[in-house]
Assembly symmetry: C2
Homo-oligomer: 357 residues x 2
């Protein structure tokens, strides 16, 4: 069956599970623009992410899981600003109109869109080169937050405590499982990437499945982010690794930090599968965590604990903001240790080929 882009949009994207009605969306998919109602008491928060096959996701990624991940990682940017999701737009470029892929991908998107009342309101669908083209996804999320919500990268002050939500390193370890690099000694599998079917290998264990799930279905921190409004002096979501992303807060705020490496939270699955020597590099530089890193004044800790408890969020204090502009001081048992940690750099080819393809 021949498809044109309008058919594909109608069948897979402009459907009620995904492009559902919302009172603040005056006009959704189907015109030159979508139209949103504006609210003068709110700021509009927007964030765009571009995701590419072979760079940001594996070529044989289960499209249902990929759909979930695509929207979740973008909602993470709203969470880091304390914004409530409003709607999203989506650009998709695909080499061919693969109906099954489109159906599964849009179903994955719909699960997350519905969970966050964040409908699809517009976008663009184009054909990549039919022979050597790859899949490109571009998502822009739109959210709202009251003025004065703070949480900018520039707001951290000396003495503030540094927190992270959840656990770190799980997603990077999950990607290593998918690529057959974990558990150590497993036969590398290049082609099967869903938790259900890692080609040529036994079914994943519970621990392996937990790490894979952390990669594809990162915990949403939207409710936690909204609870941090006016409370977190600075916040960021951890996409390139804690060392790199905390570094953005430090540079933005003109401060430094001391981080207790023993306080860094990890999961039981992570500790079971990742050899001890490799842990710190995944925890600090693995990326794809999509947890929040935020800073809070010491005086606000009681209120923070109430808010975290109210939203059911686990968060761990990992250190303290210091004055000065030096690099992060990494501590172990109270002593400073030397660490070389690099976040993900998109223009370092060796990383692209070793880590991401």
């Amino acid at each position: 069956m021949a498809s044109d882009e309008f058919d594909i949009i109608r069948r897979h994207f402009n459907q009620k599970g995904l492009a559902f009605a919302k009172s603040s969306v005056m006009l959704g998919i189907g015109d030159d623009c979508a139209l949103l109602a504006a609210d003068s008491s709110q700021q509009l928060a927007i964030s765009m992410d571009l995701l590419q096959e072979g760079v940001h996701f594996l070529s044989d990624a289960d499209p249902f899981l990929l759909g979930q991940r695509t929207l979740l990682v973008n909602l993470s940017d709203l969470a880091a600003m304390g914004a409530e999701p409003l709607c999203f737009t989506l650009g998709v470029s695909i080499p061919k109109a693969d109906e099954l892929w489109l159906e599964r991908f849009s179903a994955g998107l719909a699960v997350v869109a519905q969970a966050h009342d964040c409908p699809l309101v517009g976008g663009d669908l184009t054909a990549a080169h039919p022979e050597h083209g790859t899949i490109t996804l571009c998502v822009q999320v739109h959210g709202q937050r009251p003025a004065g919500a703070g949480m900018l990268r520039s707001g951290a002050r000396p003495g503030d405590l540094v927190y992270v939500t959840g656990t770190l390193g799980d997603a990077a370890a999950g990607l290593a499982v998918l690529q057959g690099r974990l558990p150590v000694g497993a036969s590398p599998a290049r082609d099967g990437f869903s938790p259900e079917s890692i080609a040529g290998r036994p079914a994943p264990t519970e621990f392996e499945a937990a790490l894979i799930s952390a990669f594809y279905q990162p915990e949403s921190r939207v409710a936690c982010g909204m609870a941090l409004r006016g409370l977190a002096s600075a916040a960021i979501d951890i996409s390139d690794g804690l060392a790199s992303d905390l570094g953005h807060i430090l540079r933005g705020s003109g401060v430094s930090a001391a981080i207790d490496t023993e306080a860094l939270p990890t999961s039981a699955a992570f500790r079971a599968l990742v050899p001890e020597a490799a842990r710190l590099s995944l925890v600090l530089g693995g990326g794809d965590d999509y947890e929040l890193c935020f800073t809070v004044s010491n005086d606000d800790v009681p209120q923070l604990e109430r808010q975290l408890s109210a939203t059911g969020t686990a968060a761990t204090c990992i250190g303290r903001i210091e004055s000065g502009s030096g690099p992060i001081r990494w501590l172990s048992k109270g002593e400073e240790i030397a660490l070389q940690v690099q976040g993900y750099n998109h223009f370092a080819p060796q990383q692209l080929t070793q880590e991401r393809t």
Copy 2:
């Protein structure tokens, strides 16, 4: 010099010519989200376009012209809704950090951004696959319009007059010049695509340059679009060709139309270079015009003429909306003629290879 994405963003995108300050932009590039002030009296209009090397633009396109075109074709969607440009976001995926390309591309963007007071406020920069990756651009434009501005695709009523701005077919003819398919008899040139340097061929004539310019620097219809608020019963921008895009209005409004093929406006350059037998297909199905097609009630024609005159926009009445839901009736000297016109279909591979690579 090694670059990471933060260096590239700082040097080429987060610079004052492009990411300039604007009162309604509370926070621009550099945090998890950009923050925009909202105005309850306005609707926010948003539109996203994905543009791919080899599909939407030629691989050796002059990056300065490409930058202009990238933003102009998106502003055209705001124009079609009568929205005033507010700001834009940009996703860029490139195989390597080509400093000269980035500098020229961002300079082209800046020319259009400044002309429309539409600063860059955020986005994403990623590496495409270093070997077989191609350039992908994703732009989302944001604009504002008062509620009740109309101009939806669903608003055309039987008896309304159909207008187009400017002239049609120039951009498609310009692309043919760039590809060496025009003028007829020219030696095909596959590689040089700027007006200054069409490799292996003499400098373009004035007519050739005019058509190339229509492709890379389509006339902005933003001011015209704003002047049509509350006046045009329906509007659309012509990106896939008049036949296809007027078709969207007709289906959206549940009406048909009779179009006088002799009234379709063409330029002197177009008529000089395009053989008569090929003209109608470029005018109706060539695409890339980025002119507005809109409908107006007969009673509003005097007001329309005042508004067009005030904004210095040339627009031509090309036909009339009719009741019913049949295909467009094409007229020549008052008689209906049979025409097979197809707009650009992204998932028809023969078009991709013949027309767009």
